[in-house]
Amino acid sequence: MRFLNLFGHHQSARTAQHRLQVLLMHERSAGGKADLIPMLREDILAAIGKHVIVDLDKVRVRVERGDAVSLLEIDIEIPTNVKPMHTAPVQQAELLS
């Protein structure tokens, strides 16, 4: 971006075009599964929640959409003094249902 700015504003339309291409590609492909990220988050939290208690306020989800790949970052704070939950396999199955 800075590099482009060195050449003045003539390049800014190209920047705009590239930004729009990336954005619209994501928005068009999203279609019905626009809530993919929230769904992934729910599933990941449910999986971790089977073993430790997760405070939803201590969960940070970030995404950086790129041209070829997107990066999904989920930071979950787990208190160090928490003992893992010993859940019987049967109960785990109930949790999932």
Binding site: L4, H9, T15, A34, L56, V61, E64
Partner: protein, 271 residues
């Protein structure tokens, strides 16, 4: 405790989103804690103008519906760490926005910020009414052009009748932000003059933003104009407007069409 500002106009394309981004960034640059909220559900654009379009995970609708926490939906600006964006949903219906939900979001944000700036959608429907409902201050964005002035007049009427302030008998503080002002055309009498607009709308002037290519460049690269080129004419005008919002008395600079020596040297028109 935050001041809640609605940036509104009635008419589309007059510069609400540009102005929200520019004012928000100008205030945040002064060290104020600012959150800008996009109320245009289904047609969001504030994320694009702020350059955060690749980083939206959760939005206003997720928070309103309780699927995400406010802290998770707020996107911190990469350039100024006191500037935050709450994006609108691109996929939901505008009816997903509820009065109770908006009231709760504003109530939760108020203690932690100095400014909450609500970018209203065009029109006078649900989204526009909810964007203004809990505001303390309204910035009415107007172009010196007949249909924009007429729509602004309609919006001023709604600010005085449908908002929380109006319902509790308080007066909504209203300011006019004149945008896309072209001094050359105004000088030739082709465009409504500043006085014409002020005479009709009868609200105090917050600033005059000159028509400028800098606005387009800023949105091309996804940066508020006050960050992208802080010394440009529109950025200076937005900075002054932000200081006036803060209560400072700043002399008003009317964009002029006379060429300065600097501009003559560069062979370009003023503004």
């Amino acid at each position: 405790m935050a001041q809640v500002v609605v940036v509104t106009s009635g008419k589309g394309g007059v510069g609400k989103t540009t102005s929200t981004a520019a004012l928000g960034a100008a205030l945040a640059r002064e060290g104020e804690r600012v959150v800008v909220i996009d109320f245009d559900v289904g047609l969001r654009n504030l994320d694009l103008v702020m350059g955060a379009e690749r980083r939206v995970v959760f939005d206003l609708i997720h928070v309103v519906q309780g699927t995400a926490r406010l802290s998770q939906a707020l996107i911190r600006d990469k350039r100024i760490d006191t500037l935050f964006l709450l994006a609108a949903s691109q996929t939901r219906d505008k009816d997903a926005l509820t009065d109770d939900g908006v009231e709760r979001v504003i109530r939760e944000l108020r203690p932690s910020y100095d400014w909450i700036i609500c970018d209203s959608p065009a029109g006078i429907e649900r989204g526009a009414l909810l964007a203004m409902r809990y505001a303390d201050i309204a910035v009415v964005v107007t172009n010196p052009e007949v249909s924009s002035v007429r729509d602004s007049d309609r919006i001023i009427g709604l600010l005085d009748s449908t908002t929380q302030k109006a319902k509790t008998g308080e007066l909504m503080e209203k300011h006019l932000l004149l945008t896309r002002y072209d001094p050359v055309r105004a000088g030739r009498g082709e465009m409504l003059s500043i006085d014409d607009v002020l005479d009709i709308l009868c609200i105090p002037l917050l600033g005059i933003i000159p028509e400028s290519k800098e606005i387009l460049h800023a949105s091309n690269v996804g940066a508020p104009v006050t960050l992208n080129n802080p010394t440009s004419a529109p950025a200076r005008a937005y900075n002054d407007a932000a200081r006036r919002l803060q209560g400072e008395v700043v002399p008003l600079v009317v964009p002029s069409d006379k060429n300065t020596l600097f501009n003559k040297l560069l062979g370009r028109r003023a503004a």
